[in-house]
Symmetry: C2
Subunit: 140 residues, 2 copies
């Protein structure tokens, strides 16, 4: 787990996003049990109260289910997880497009920019499995 936190935004918001991503990417499988609030807070280096707050919002979105004393579990509604993944991806794209257009880039330019730079030297890793994986190995 990464837990890269910056001081520019509320920590509980960032924790929420990280937890979301770990769920919709399949890193936290449907139905699996999550670590306790205290343990995750330790991992992330934050106060348990802060992690608790992140969970409160995460649960409100239906991605996790809480059992009073047993702990928290990832939802088993794989369809919802998948939809959430698409929603987040779409939102990220919209944000990106908005910024690029504000910078004066046209749609055509943006596509070329992304194509050129994204396929160039990639992230170095998984240069083998890449190329024909249409699902990225995520979710159900």
């Amino acid at each position: 787990m990464s837990w890269k936190l910056d001081s520019d935004r509320p920590i509980y918001t960032q924790l929420l996003e990280i937890l979301q991503i770990n769920i919709v990417s399949g890193h936290y499988p449907p139905g699996s049990k999550l670590k306790s609030v205290r343990e995750l807070a330790m991992d992330a280096g934050v106060n348990p109260n802060t992690m608790q707050r992140a969970f409160a919002e995460l649960e409100q979105q239906g991605l996790i289910r809480t059992e009073r004393t047993a702990g928290r579990f990832v939802t088993e509604d794989t369809e919802m997880v998948g939809k959430t993944r698409e929603t987040i991806a779409g939102a990220q794209l919209d944000l990106f497009l908005e910024k690029m257009e504000q910078l004066g880039f046209g749609r055509q330019e943006i596509v070329e920019f992304v194509s050129t730079r994204a396929l160039a030297q990639a992230g170095r890793r998984n240069s083998a499995s890449a190329g024909s994986d249409t699902n990225g190995g995520a979710q159900a």
Copy 2:
């Protein structure tokens, strides 16, 4: 001018980004005079101190020049402006790619995702001038 501010991040940071974009996109031409701190603060609906703080950081980056009592002016170093534009665009792309990969998307998928959705219904506007403009009408 937009001045869309959210409460999730420091306002002066957001003001800084907006000012940056207006400069590197050519909306604030090189050498042009900017409105006063007080006036811009009014436009944005923030306290003059907050706008002042944004300017302090903006000047530190060299995008503007301050003349004690005459006001602030956009730099005339068009090369720097252009480089800054590319730097911001690259940073935005990197952020986007990172999020998408965390969501489980592969590079190939991302390119297809962007190509499909970015060229689909666009932003509705400038459907006429789009298509062959390789510079977006920005900077020098």
